[in-house]
Symmetry: C2
């Protein structure tokens, strides 16, 4: 999966090791211009790395809009093909630059 | 490196792919009981993954103290053996649970 897969109902962006961080960052920035938070979900070290890079890149995309991002990581179990895997979920929250959250 | 290497002057915890996330989380929680923020530095996907897991674990360690953590990822260049490498720096900030940041 190159492009982030988005579940519209929950607003979760699923990130894989093959995801392009710039594409994920663009999707993330788009969501966070409209909403105050968004979730990234990643399974495995490669995917988690791409997700974190995407957040770092999205911060630069949102800087012109005077917005910054913070993220809160947590573990979550997801079922894939009948197997339970531990995923990292990053709750990404928007905050105003040079201001309190 | 199994244990996180701490640079006392700057308070940066260096995380590698071989770091134990529980150990890093313990060090992180210890710093954040005393200070409002701490930095984790990771180079490569494996190290970044361990750093993110450490933040997720540290959140559970600090829950009893009514503290929660957020992190702000950014890219940074570090010089190792004369070569410039791009690292991920996670600025981990403390916030009070059930309250504004």
């Amino acid at each position: 999966m190159i492009e982030p897969q988005r579940t519209p109902a929950t607003g979760v962006l699923k990130v894989s090791a093959q995801s392009n961080p710039n594409s994920v960052a663009g999707a993330l920035a788009g969501v966070l211009r409209e909403r105050s938070s968004c979730e990234l979900q990643a399974i495995g070290a490669g995917a988690t790395n791409q997700a974190v890079k995407a957040v770092a890149i999205a911060r630069s995309y949102l800087q012109a809009s005077q917005l910054d991002l913070t993220c809160v990581p947590e573990f979550t179990d997801v079922e894939i093909d009948g197997n339970v895997r531990t995923a990292i979920r990053l709750l990404v929250e928007r905050r105003t630059l040079h201001g309190a959250a």
